[in-house]
Assembly symmetry: C2
Homo-oligomer: 202 residues x 2
């Protein structure tokens, strides 16, 4: 199909498609003349994926890393997860104290209190911001967070498909990133329901 048909099918503007082509997110179509290129169904699929990633708050350069991981996957599902996480988290140069973060990771079930440094740093920074703001997470609430995340992760990882690497990559990368806005919105809905139960709505 032509670029105009691709745009109509994916419901995006031609200018947006040209931007993704320039940024290397979408592969070039096959040249059919000096001024025209032909796009296939897999271009449309890739375009929808790019839209979904950007719509989930992933930056252009993070989207590029994610698409690279899908195109050139690591061989092990554990490394894959690391790639997906690294592509979508900010690695900062600031040294942060990770003592409390390591304690939480141990409570999550890691015997040696270790996970990827990017993730450990993200936990430490999140704890730092909570403390900075003068807020405290009560211990029973923290326990609920850890239990909840452990259950979620086990259900998610149990579902990683093992029949094809491509399927595993898509599952891990997209499941990590695209589900985040859903989880945060579900938490807010659950909070409203729990607040209505405790305080009434008037």
């Amino acid at each position: 199909m032509r670029i105009s048909e691709l745009a109509a099918e994916a419901d995006v503007s031609i200018a947006t498609i040209k931007f993704y082509l320039r940024e290397g997110l979408l592969p070039e179509g096959e040249r059919s003349s000096a001024t025209q290129a032909t796009y296939r169904a897999d271009h449309l699929e890739r375009l929808r994926l790019i839209r979904a990633l950007i719509g989930s708050g992933v930056s252009i350069s993070q989207a590029r890393s994610v698409l690279d991981a899908i195109d050139r996957p690591p061989t092990n599902a554990y490394d894959l997860l690391g790639t997906a996480h690294a592509a979508t988290m900010t690695r900062t140069a600031d040294a942060v104290d990770t003592t409390e973060a390591e304690k939480l990771v141990r409570r999550l079930g890691s015997a040696d209190g270790r996970c990827d440094d990017v993730v450990l740093g993200a936990i430490a920074r999140a704890l730092g911001q909570i403390e900075e703001a003068g807020f405290q997470v009560a211990d029973d609430v923290m326990t609920a967070y850890l239990d909840a995340m452990r259950r979620i992760a086990r259900a998610e990882i149990a579902g990683v498909p093992t029949d094809s690497t491509e399927a595993a990559v898509k599952y891990v990368v997209l499941g990590t990133i695209l589900v985040e806005p859903l989880l945060l919105a579900l938490r807010r809905a659950a909070e409203q329901i729990a607040a209505a139960e405790r305080f009434g709505t008037h």
Copy 2:
């Protein structure tokens, strides 16, 4: 204290403080001369809170709404939660189909399948992006998400302090917003631990 001392105490630049003053996030200090103002301990506390909000990905205008809610709180804890949620979620003009989102809210425990429209819209949009990307959340994983969020919300709402409105406001507003980066980082750590358990690390 002077603005330079406030900057040193909070570890931010004087330019940043002036920006927050111009944006109305930080109240003006008391004028002590034509060119100097004096700041108190509550300015420092407010400044730390602003830093924590901005650091959690809250925009300047969202931070203003959150601070307004803290300064002029609604009387009911349920309305408070709505204010905190509305201040930090994007209300879009796009009509979205909320049928699936309402089903999830009912599974969360709301008899009439209702929560605030902003939250319902956010769930619907998150589901739409997942579908757009060609990804599916398996039903047992979705059940794990709903169970986890229900547990988290009950623990959080059970802890809302009822002795002072100000304490309740701070708890609800800050607990909602500041905990989000922590939860997402804990989920990633839990995923890495679960992946290591299932696939090994080599």
